[in-house]
Symmetry: C2
Subunit: 275 residues, 2 copies
């Protein structure tokens, strides 16, 4: 592939389901010339309760699929897969792969004044301790408090975002974190930004809330520039985003149309187990 | 296989995860001589939000796996897979396959006096309308009210069974059903019996609550007797239950030990996508 075709090649973005669309949206805002191939593993969602071996195997299958679309770089837009699979897959494929954990950790390290950071995420992400490990590598003096909030994803997916029970479940999970003295908090799951205002209301104004999606798009921009793979927009391709899922394409498409700032006309189903 | 080896062959039982253990437990009570091979699809749980095609494909893979264990009959101990996949797989394999929907529907038809039955289940089960279809085939005069309660499974799995929010979420889902005049109610998801006392408290004493697991074990007994495949207990095999999962064996084993009336010493992991 010559350098020009690499520039116009798409970026692959994947997640266990719809959550990574918030990362794809951020990339579309910050890198408007880039083409995106998105894959959501809706047949096997959620990843947050599953084991590392399984999450690595699923991620490898998805990367093999994305490579058939000639992607020039891959973003793991899922905190759980970033935390548990990035180290395993990064050197396995001849395409740069990045996750959301390192960008999110860096933003929190920059945001904290009192050197105390909170991290909320799925069971698997928190059990991995990956955010703590990465933050400590960046700044060994920082204290990190992690908390798994496994009901947040089903609450968002079932439309309970504004129901009174959501406030109670936020209190149940975050009471100890509110008393822990943190001044920055990473929303370490792509669904959680959809509860941002409720979490802010409970945690108070004194805490900076970090959404790793924004920083991830910045990191991707840097990576493409460093490797001279930025799409300079000289081509005429405008069907620039394509969406693939492993199940329930129509349900995904409807959700995507509520998240993405443009119309998502079609979603394609892939039998991901064959990759 | 001669008739004696068929008698001592195990019964295969499968579910999307741990829920079907309540069915396996009921079989172990009512058919104490039978050997059981249980498979829980913990790598791809839950099924309740997924499409029919995907649930059929997953069920076929699991049945192919169970056949390698020489099972003499298979029980789909998952309401969603029973509702969406039983018709597709029943004639595809040379082993009898039964689900939990027909036994559950029959019990509710026998229980109702005023000919009004309620059904609660996952999104996929309720969307399939299978309980209504089966009940109407048995008794066309019966009115069926179905309601999906997608948060019940994560509430049970995350240990919120006795938390105050569970009461509120039960009210949210079941308020209209309580006012609908039903006098029998099917718990159409294997997790829901674990919320039985809370559901009974909310719905009131006037409603008969049907757990399909009990009736399913009775139906299996009948099926084995009709085909002369009942294990008469003459053999000496006592390592009679074996447990397989597609992920997170240790977590499954711990849960199984809280459900089964005997010690579950080991659980084996199977790469189910290979079947």
């Amino acid at each position: 592939m010559n350098i020009n075709s690499r520039k116009t090649a798409p970026v692959g973005v994947f997640d266990s389901g719809v959550g990574g669309l918030t990362v794809a949206r951020e990339i579309s805002r910050q890198l408007p010339n880039e083409n995106i191939v998105y894959f959501g593993d809706t047949a096997r969602v959620p990843y947050g309760s599953k084991s590392q071996n399984t999450i690595i195997r699923f991620s490898e299958q998805i990367i093999r699929f994305l490579k058939t679309k000639d992607v020039k770089a891959i973003v793991i837009a899922c905190n759980t897969a970033s935390a548990l699979a990035l180290d395993a897959v990064r050197d396995e494929f001849d395409v740069p792969v990045m996750g959301v954990v390192i960008p999110g950790a860096r933003a929190a390290v920059e945001a904290t004044c009192n050197r105390k950071i909170g991290v909320v995420g799925t069971d698997a992400t928190v059990r991995s301790g990956m955010y703590t490990k990465i933050i400590r590598q960046m700044a060994p003096d920082i204290t990190v408090v992690e908390k798994a909030c496994p009901l947040f994803v089903p609450l968002v997916e079932e439309g309970f975002k504004d129901h009174a029970v959501t406030r109670e479940i936020i209190e149940y999970y975050l009471e100890s974190m509110r008393g822990s003295g943190i001044d920055a908090m990473i929303l370490g799951c792509t669904h959680y930004p959809l509860l941002r205002s409720k979490i802010r209301e409970y945690m108070g104004e004194g805490i900076q809330i970090v959404n790793p999606a924004y920083e991830t798009a910045l990191d991707l921009k840097r990576l493409l520039r460093d490797r001279e793979m930025e799409n300079d927009g000289a081509t005429e391709e405008h069907s620039r985003y394509s969406f693939y899922v492993s199940d329930a394409a129509e349900k995904f498409r409807r959700f995507a149309n509520t998240v993405m700032p443009f119309d998502v006309p079609t979603t394609n189903v892939v039998n991901i187990e064959e990759y």
